[in-house]
């Protein structure tokens, strides 16, 4: 079973939501749609579900055009970012609803409900109404309702975004195990968070302004972002960028910092380019002898969970450093930043294309830290 989008475009009220989308979804695979707010993630999921029709292009399932097939005759499930359940039914009736509509016998319905509620840990809530549940519980019920159907296509539109931080942390690994042994369905999961995409794994579709920028394996895309925009979208905080000039055996950063043109950067063509480095590849302590060093000024330091983001400034440099633990830095104070030149990315300054990425072998830890 494969779902194919060919040259699909979507417009509403003279506004372009999606343009020239070509994608193939295979049965048994897990897809993460990553993009900023308004990048077109919801539009894409609504097209896949059949709730919206494309204004151009074709959507086919195993070669058959399915644009005209009404939603209620498809085998699709969707979990929204708002917690959508039937308010007038209790949890059990909510989960039973799609099965009853499909005309399943009573004992089969019971069996499936028991299975899915045990899986999601909501067996105790069966007699409650959605209005009496917490946000996390409501979303579990919505998830149970979409899982219980065994649909061909399961769509999850930022399902964790409206939950608090702790619940998100708790649900993410659950999702990974829930979807890990899927063999029968196409699962599409949209998110704005790079970390979430990395933790869930699978294949990635990176959207920006209604266009697909990159597809492929999540980790592969993380290590080799196709272009500067992907590097920005796929890092939180976005990848730090600076203009640079390649001349002879040297790379001169806009800041005046000079690097040797060696290692993975040896192949850069002469002339201007863009250099990028992840926030967590910037360190405050020296970790290796060949680290580059940069003196800058603290513009702002903010604590985010168990991490501190330090915004630094020096000439053309306007970067963010991510540091573990909670620290505080005085505004305007001087700070020394070190980084390993082996961790630099290079992009074309003409079209943003990736020119060089760090060697993957040494970056195993970067994946987990995101």
């Amino acid at each position: 079973m494969s779902l194919i989008l060919e040259a699909v475009g979507s417009m509403a009220e003279d506004q372009m939501h999606l343009a020239d989308i070509n994608l193939t979804f295979e049965k048994g695979a897990f897809y993460v749609v990553l993009g900023a707010t308004l990048a077109g993630k919801t539009s894409l999921l609504r097209l896949l579900s059949g709730l919206d029709q494309p204004t151009s292009g074709a959507i086919t399932m195993d070669g058959r055009n399915i644009v005209e097939v009404p939603v209620w005759k498809r085998r699709v499930s969707m979990v929204y970012q708002q917690f959508i359940n039937y308010p007038h039914l209790d949890v059990r009736a909510n989960i039973a609803f799609p099965l009853q509509r499909a005309g399943l016998p009573g004992d089969e319905i019971d069996a499936r409900i028991n299975e899915v509620t045990a899986l999601l840990g909501i067996g105790e809530l069966l007699r409650r109404r959605p209005g009496e549940l917490s946000g996390g519980q409501q979303q579990r019920v919505a998830l149970a309702r979409s899982l219980v159907k065994n649909a061909d296509l399961l769509l999850l539109d930022e399902p964790l975004v409206n939950l608090d931080y702790k619940l998100r942390e708790q649900l993410r690994p659950e999702f990974r195990s829930l979807f890990g042994n899927n063999t029968s369905a196409i699962i599409v999961y949209s998110t704005t968070e790079p970390l979430e995409a990395l933790m869930l794994g699978g294949r990635i579709i990176i959207l920006d302004e209604g266009r697909v920028l990159q597809t492929g394996d999540v980790h592969e895309a993380f290590h080799n972002p196709a272009c500067e925009t992907v590097a920005r979208v796929f890092n939180d905080p976005p990848m730090n960028m600076i203009s640079a000039d390649v001349a002879g055996e040297r790379i001169i950063l806009g800041d005046g910092l000079v690097l040797p043109r060696s290692g993975h950067l040896a192949g850069l063509p002469p002339g201007p380019c863009r250099i990028g480095i992840r926030a967590n590849d910037l360190n405050l302590e020296q970790s290796a002898a060949d680290d580059m060093e940069l003196a800058a000024e603290v513009q702002l330091s903010e604590v985010n969970g168990s991490e501190t983001y330090i915004h630094i400034h020096h000439n053309e440099v306007s970067w963010v450093v991510r540091e573990d633990g909670v620290h505080s830095y005085a505004l305007g104070s001087g700070i020394r930043i070190r980084f390993n030149p082996g961790r630099l990315f290079a992009f074309s300054s003409a079209d943003g294309r990736l020119l060089a990425a760090p060697d993957n072998l040494v970056s195993g830890s970067a994946v987990m830290e995101g």
């Binding site: 209620w72 699709v76 039937y86």
Partner: protein
């Protein structure tokens, strides 16, 4: 200063309460009077100021021919009001859902214009419609019939339903409809199984308004019926001639008016729970 303000507040509330209650109390005491009790001038307290009698009430229940028949008009009013309210609620709710959920375009006409067309029917003075209604019902052979009145009341009540329900539906997330469809319900099934059970407060409010406005209409019942189908207000107003005994007039008025007074309790309940606020904008 504060004490003064508070006493003033309760004074105003009590004065207005007295004003509101005045016609009811007056009708109540009058209903127990006899001719002697009435013609001797305004009196209020039974036994002390006049000799009470149950004549005014008894005459209403003597059955056809012997007294004032209030039962038949009562049943007529009940049938017509409930049928018209039910049909208006059905058609109006469906239409409101259609206007809330789907996009409509016909030339320059959009959803908002159709909604406005429905609601704007309330501006139509009954007198403007009365003559054509009269001729239309005569053509259909529905003059002086309950069916004819139901037809007319639908036009009166449906705009109220659309007014209340469009706003109510707009506050139910579309994702709920979509989820139902994804779960295998067609549009009609979605409406019936998922949306309708979740808009009970709106239906109650709209239904209440229908019943109040239907039950209380006088004019159309007055001009479109004669002898066969008399509705309650018409029956009571026809008692209002100079020779009418005030006691039975008062008694029948109270009987006609009291059932709807109970609805005030229901409306107040919805008011407290905040369900009305959304409907009225």
């Amino acid at each position: 200063m504060f004490v003064l303000y508070r006493s003033l507040k309760y004074f105003v509330l009590l004065v207005w309460s007295a004003f509101v209650a005045l016609p009811f109390l007056w009708a109540l005491t009058t209903s127990f009077k006899t001719a002697n009790g009435v013609v001797s001038g305004a009196t209020y307290i039974p036994w002390l100021q006049y000799e009470p009698s149950l004549e005014g009430w008894k005459v209403l229940f003597r059955g056809e021919g012997k007294g004032i028949d209030i039962i038949t008009p009562y049943l007529n009013s009940l049938t017509v009001t409930l049928s018209a309210s039910f049909i208006s609620l059905l058609l109006g709710t469906l239409a409101a859902y259609g206007l809330s959920r789907f996009s409509w375009r016909a030339g320059p006409i959009r959803n908002a214009d159709i909604t406005f067309f429905f609601i704007s029917q309330r501006i139509m003075p009954p007198i403007v419609l009365s003559i054509p209604f009269f001729l239309m019902l005569r053509m259909l052979g529905l003059l002086d019939s309950r069916a004819g009145l139901v037809l007319v009341y639908i036009a009166l009540l449906m705009p109220i339903v659309v007014w209340v329900m469009v706003d109510f539906f707009n506050n139910i997330p579309r994702e709920l409809d979509e989820t139902a469809m994804l779960d295998g319900c067609g549009p009609l099934e979605t409406f019936w199984r998922v949306i309708l059970p979740n808009c009970k407060p709106g239906l109650v409010v709209a239904g209440l308004f229908c019943i109040v406005f239907g039950w209380n209409d006088f004019f159309f019942a007055f001009i479109l019926t004669f002898t066969e189908t008399q509705l309650l207000p018409v029956a009571i107003v026809s008692l209002n001639s100079s020779v009418t005994p005030w006691w039975s007039l008062s008694a029948s008025s109270l009987i006609a008016v009291v059932p709807l007074v109970i609805l005030a309790f229901v409306i107040e309940k919805y008011l407290s729970s905040g369900n009305l606020a959304g409907a009225i904008k």
